[in-house]
Amino acid sequence: DVKVTQSSRYLVKRTGEKVFLECVQDMDHENMFWYRQDPGLGLRLIYFSYDVKMKEKGDIPEGYSVSREKKERFSLILESASTNQTSMYLCASKRQDVWNTEAFFGQGTRLTVV
């Protein structure tokens, strides 16, 4: 089974802290994604990566950065956490294939910024 693992299920951080959310997948997938999910807003794409060291902005990249130094790991970084970044964060991975639309998601990290 494909496994996408997010480092923490719940996280509480203080305003202004630098926050790292880690995601690891074990299926050698080329594509990885970070989303945030808020009530009434669905899933919104923050960043995605199509290969090691390659990244592209999604729809809401402001206040976030990402790192992909190894194929299996995709990190989301909140440079200076703010209360409006309190949310559920979801990581996903997918095989790079023009016929494939199946992404696998992690369990999510619920981040609270106080």
């Binding site: 989303y35 669905g42 794409l45 995605f48 023009v98 494939n100 992690g106 999510g108």
Partner: protein, 112 residues
């Protein structure tokens, strides 16, 4: 990427067939249609994908008319465990769906 429109919520009863329609008026020739399901406190899960006509798997059927401007996810004989949010996505085939863009989805509530 083609914008999608789906109902915000739907209600059903156990044993009924549920059809959720997604509108994607500006779908392009190379676009695929994909549906995901999300249970509370979990990440979304892929259900089905299609390009045209009808696709069926062990979970659902996907109906796509000839003009492809809409699609309908059909869940046969739903149970309480089908209560979830269902997302319709449309993505460009020639980019390998590098950018999966979700909307707000349809919240399905199945009652006894």
């Amino acid at each position: 990427l083609a914008k999608t429109t789906q109902p915000i919520s739907m209600d059903s009863y156990e044993g009924q067939e549920v059809n959720i329609t997604c509108s994607h008026n500006n779908i392009a020739t190379n676009d695929y249609i994909t549906w995901y399901q999300q249970f509370p406190s979990q990440g979304p899960r892929f259900i089905i994908q299609g390009y045209k006509t009808k696709v069926t798997n062990e979970v659902a059927s996907l109906f796509i008319p000839a003009d492809r401007k809409s699609s309908t996810l059909s869940l046969p004989r739903v149970s309480l465990s089908d209560t979830a949010v269902y997302y319709c996505l449309v993505g460009r085939r020639d980019t390998g769906f590098q950018k999966l863009v979700f909307g707000t989805g349809t919240r399905l509530l199945v009652s006894p």
